[in-house]
Structures are given as C-alpha cells and as structure tokens.
Symmetry: C2
Subunit: 347 residues, 2 copies
C-alpha cells in the first residue's frame, strides 16, 4: 500500500541498480563519528575504538512477515529498522549504523520505494542511527528486506540470553499482546473489505494497538534508565515472538527454569477489550502473540529496590533451577507449562 | 541442483525456524579472537580493538543472480561467501565474520540447505572467517540469500574508490572475462539439455572458465602481497560487474579520467578460445562480463618498480584528468569511450 497514491509512477528500469540506490540515499547524512565511510564503496568503515561492536541481521519477506494490503510502506520501513534497533537494545547496546538490502520486483514503482526509505530514514533519524550501506536488486516477485544493524556497547556491559542466574527476578518493559491484537484487527478488516469493498474499515478507538502493530518502538529509553540506575541485567532478550518463546530462550540458554505470574503480566486495557472482542484471553496474546518489541530481562534480587523506581517495568516472576521447569502460574493458582507457540515463519 | 541427490528428504516444517538455524550451524566453530559472541543471541559481539571495522552486505536472488539448474548449491554457498570477502579485500581489509540471511520456500528439503551451508562453511574455513550470525525464514517462492561480512583494516590503511590521483597507474589482478564465458557455456549447455535431455553436457576442457564462474576466489593473496611490498593502493574496487563498470566507478568517484590499453588487459588463453566459439571478442567479455572478482586498483607511479616484482598483477593503463574522459585504446590505436554495460540486475 502506498500511503500517498499519486499519478506519478517512475519505473525502476529507468534508473538501474546504481541509479536506484543513489536516488534513494542521496539525502542520507552521517551523524555518528564512528561512521568513517557510509554508502558508496565496497564496504562501510566503522571505528568503534575501545567499544565492542554489535551486529544483528533480520529478514522481512512479503507475504510472510508483512501484508502490503494493510501495511503502509512508510510504516514497513520504520518498523523494519526499529525491529533491528531493538535487537541491539536487547544486548544492552546502542544502534549506530544500518545497512539495507532491498530486493523488489518491477511491480513496485520508484515512488513506493521512496516511501519505504522515508520510513527507514525516519527511524534512523529518531534513533540517531546512520544509514551506512546496503544492496539493491530486483526479485522475480515480491518485496524482500534484509537489514543489518551495527551498534556498540562498553566492554563488560554486553548482556546475553544465556547468563540468567537462579533466583533472579524476571522483568518486562511496557505491556504485552497489543501488537498481536492490532494484527488481528487489521486482518479482520481486510477480510471485511475483501468481502465488500464498499465497507469502510472499523478501526476507530484502536489507535494504540494499531500503532503497536504498525509502528513499534525499540526500548532505548529502558536501556538508558537501567544504565542511569546502575542496573546491569543478568540476561536480556527482546520480545519479537511472544513472551513464552522468549522466556524459554533465556531459560534454555541459561540452563535454568522459571515461574512467571499471570496477574503480574502487563496488558493494556484497550488491548484487553479487543482480546474480549476476539474471544481470546489477554494472557494468550501476551504469551504467544509476538511483535511487541518490549525487553524481557532478569536482574539480581539485590537490584529490586532500584528497579522499583523505574516506571514502565514490571517484575513478572523469578528464575528457578532447571529441574523445576518453566511454568506460568495462572490467576487461579494453576501451574501451566510454558511452551513456545510464537510466530514461526517456517511452519 | 543438489550435488549429491539422496533418497533422504527432510521437510523444513519438521524443524521450524529455530531448529533449522541450530541444525545448520551446530558445527560452527569460532576461531577469530575478535568474535566475542557468534550465533545465538539478539546480536553478535565483535571486539575490533584499535582496528577499523568494515561491513559489506550483498543480496543473491534465485533467477536473478543464479540459476539452480546448473549451479550446485554447495558452489552457490561458497561463491556467495567469497563474493562478500572480495568486498572486504577491495577495501584493503581482512574478512573476519560472516552473517547469513536465508529465505527459502518449502520446495527445498533440509538436505539442500545443508549443501548450501557446506559451501558457506568451506569458504569460511578457507578464508579464516567466523560464521557469526544470521536469520532464517521461509519465502513464498525461491531462494534468497542476504550476506553481511565484517572485516578489519588498520587505521589509515582503508582504500576507497574515490581517492585515485592523476597519473596513477591502473592495475588489475589475475585475468578477466573468464567467469562470464563460463556462464555462457553453462547457459548454452542448459539450452541443449532442455531441447534434448538425452544430450550430455559438453563441458570438457573448460575446467578453468567453469571454475571461474562457479567457484571464484577473493584475492586475499594480492592484498597480502601488496602489504608485504609496502604498496598502499591509492584506490581500489573488486570486479563484480566487468572492468568497464568498475573503472568508471573509480574515475567518477575520484572525478578523474583514464586510458586503459586493450593489449594490456589480461585474458586467459582458454577463455579467448571460448570467446571465439561464441563469436565474441575477448575484450568484450573482460570489459562487460563481470563476476571475475579480481581487484582493480590504482598506485602511485613511484610504486611501479615494486609492483613489477609481484606476479599476477598487470598494469593496464593510467589515470588522467577528468576532462580527458574515460577511454579504452584498442589494439589498432582507436580510442573507444568506456561505458558501463555490466550486469545490471534492475534491467
């Protein structure tokens, strides 16, 4: 979906590969001193001095990860970038450079790619990240995005998934499940539209969950607050595939178990109402929905008082030994084994 | 094409996304001390101390960049990795870590991806590069590879495209045009096979040009020799799109012109014979063929004696002022303007 359809349509073949990347990136400015050389050579050159360099890469495939019939291209670009920044946040780092691989079929006019890049550039600007390189090519069908982000973290401050300790507290930022409910809403309205193109989509009053789905943010603010409070999480991951899948990553990689409490899991009121509309439990959306891009992390119990002073963080449970397994304690006290039912694009 | 077809066929859906990447990378070992954390977290962690970090990213799309009907998957993996290493060589750097984004449709069995990864791992092993991360997802059709490589170079030693100087000598490693002629040969035999599947492909005696097409190498040896001879090129690029396109990159980015001499351009004898078979001039394959992955670079005239002692490097011309334009001097002394007619996957 092109956000501002206009009569102008420039065919990609008019520009060629080099022309296209030059056109899309001619207004890119470098702002990070660590970016020695950005777009325009065989490789980009970064100077990260005495810091560790973080690298994360992510693929987004049309029809698998996004549906262009209800995803404005500008939002898609923004989200694709932010999702990568979130991976750097999840290492306790700061994103610095973004590299965009873009493969598109000729059915997209130049104007569509400009919108996509507008979204990418907007995200880069907001997060102070340099768009520093990439590759552009044609595809036989569809739109394919391959993003790589590099970032930095001080030595000794990188936080992994595999380093949680027994008795650590499990914390999560923001609220969970909203992005998935936003997706359900968009998919429902798409079906209504397909059945009767005269029907107007009924998205009123759902701004929050729609924004959570279409325009998520990376929680750099949480990383900053943790740093200011001198809290170094013992383990961390971002929630891209749902809380269940992510807590299992931490527990499995750390060879430990966990107890998390349904009553402690933060769910937005509007999201809970939408969940009721769809006849699903809010906890199901939180556990298995995905795409919230909140941070899930563990801290030492000795940091409990410090963490209590930071807003928008919930303590939702604790880490146990491995033999105790991974369980959700439901509101009526039942132990439910946690299983990954998150987004799995291979199925 | 799967190199060793076997009765075993494991569906990707049996493994799921996490299972797949774990399966394909479980035997990956880290050998570079700069790779602090490889596969298995939100981002990889690199420590490049006082060196500059180089990053290059490259997309390979089935049906655009490769034809699986005559490309063994192991070769495809090897080539995809090497092509990226070549980008780091072209910055005068050393590749250190590779990140593989892989998007595949369910028509590929696990065994096919294992072959692809075998090729990638073989290249990593040969070039002492750590396979350090990536992303795997499904596609609606075809195979899509997005590779990112990081490397290092000493401060002050990175070589760009834009820094050639007037009167510099233009040098190229190895020989040119062979990879393109190998492709022509493979495409011809494919057509013969499609017309009559009982015909055996006639590839005898063409080992060299076929290997140039299917299994190219990055010229790290040249980088090493230049370093040992204390020659720092004034500009450099690798030849992925043909000599014409690449020399224009250097001249345009450096705002200079050039003269290159047909008689000086290195062409392999076997390649020249194949060119004759196809009724094309060897110089055309060299100028516009592409995929040779040789290094094209400029050096100061004062380095001429030093460069003469290094084998497998040809001096093919010199840099002029911008107003003199970019010309090839043909064997009969005619000035032919150089135009980019290289591979352009957007057309």
């Amino acid at each position: 979906m092109i956000e501002n359809p206009s009569p102008k349509r420039t065919e990609l073949s008019e520009l060629g590969e080099f022309g296209l990347i030059r056109h899309l990136t001619s207004d890119v400015k470098i702002t990070n001193s660590s970016t020695i050389k950005g777009i325009g050579d065989d490789a980009s050159v970064l100077d990260n001095g005495e810091l560790l360099t973080l690298v994360s890469t992510d693929l987004l495939v049309e029809g698998v990860h996004f549906d262009l019939s209800f995803t404005p291209l500008k939002h898609l670009g923004y989200k694709a970038a932010v999702v990568n920044f979130s991976d750097i946040a999840a290492m306790n780092g700061t994103p610095k450079q973004l590299f965009v691989g873009l493969s598109v079929s000729n059915r997209f006019p130049l104007e569509a790619l400009e919108e996509l890049y507008d979204g990418i550039k907007l995200a880069c600007e907001k997060y102070h990240v340099d768009l520093a390189g990439g590759d552009t090519t044609s595809s036989r069908s569809g739109l394919f995005l391959a993003l790589t982000v590099t970032g930095t973290v001080e030595k000794g401050k990188a936080v992994y998934r595999s380093t949680a300790k027994e008795n650590d507290l499990i914390c999560v930022s923001g609220d969970l499940g909203s992005a998935y409910l936003g997706l359900l809403l968009l998919e429902r309205e798409k079906q209504v539209f397909l059945a009767d193109p005269n029907m107007q989509p009924d998205l009123e009053g759902n701004d929050y969950i729609l924004e959570r789905q279409l325009k998520p943010e990376a929680r750099m603010d949480i990383i900053e607050k943790l740093g200011k409070s001198a809290i170094l999480p013992t383990s961390m991951i971002d929630i891209s595939d749902g809380l269940a899948s992510e807590i299992l990553h931490i527990c499995n990689d750390s060879k430990l178990g966990c107890r998390i409490y349904e009553e402690k899991i933060p769910v937005d009121m509007a999201a809970a109402n939408t969940a009721a509309e769809f006849n699903i439990q809010p906890i199901t959306a939180a556990m298995n929905g995905g795409e919230d891009y909140e941070l899930l992390f563990t801290i030492s119990q000795s940091d409990f008082e410090k963490i209590s002073t930071i807003s928008d963080i919930s303590v939702i449970g604790h880490i146990t030994d491995e033999n105790s397994g991974c369980f959700l304690v439901s509101n009526d006290g039942v132990l439910v084994e946690i299983k990954a039912q998150g987004f799995d694009h291979m199925r």
